[in-house]
Subunit: 117 residues, 2 copies
């Protein structure tokens, strides 16, 4: 991409696949609550993200786990206990997210006209 030799369709497909792993209204929110090595239980996440429904929380956690971003640990205890943390690969998402953040912050520097929304 930085290079001059790329195939638009291939590069776009690659980035799109990566974006898909993080897409949707909730995944990023969940990931940000787990960044920096934090380990949270299902109910911790419910409290941290009050607007999410149980369905969406469970569903997105399943997807993040299937995609290898999040690790789920279930303890066989009498009140069930399950916790979630990021995998090393999940943690490695940070730089990419940072790059996006700094890109948005450059908006005002480089696009003076800005034709309004």
């Amino acid at each position: 991409m930085t290079a001059k030799t790329y195939t638009p369709r291939t590069a776009a497909a690659g980035v799109e696949a990566a974006l898909g792993l993080v897409e949707g209204r909730w995944k990023l929110l969940i990931l940000f609550h787990l960044f920096d090595g934090k380990v949270l239980r299902y109910s911790d996440l419910e409290r941290a993200i009050p607007e999410i429904s149980q369905k969406m929380l469970a569903q997105q956690l399943r997807r993040l786990e299937a995609d290898g971003l999040v690790a789920r640990t279930a303890y066989d205890e009498v009140p069930p206990r399950v916790d979630y943390r990021l995998t090393p690969w999940g943690q490695a998402l940070c730089p990419a997210l940072d790059a996006f953040l700094s890109w948005t912050e450059r908006r005002d520097d480089e696009s003076p006209p800005r034709p309004a929304a």
Copy 2:
């Protein structure tokens, strides 16, 4: 994000907004065709992305323009002519996209088990 002091909700919202500018099935494909300073007409883009409908092409171009990523130039000629190119800010998206691409490429290095889809 790399820093230890961030508010999950704020950071997530920021990244989500940035991702929104690039979301959807077509925007990345359009952007990749315009990277590297290329200037394309509407019909060039139609040819470059044959599966896109006129509606979606026009709609996504409007959005990219409104968001300040793409610049539209209409020439007042007898067969209408319009071309599209990236704004400087649009060009500046590359590093962020690169970061995402290198992240996906690290998957196999760091997540040996991979529980299948």
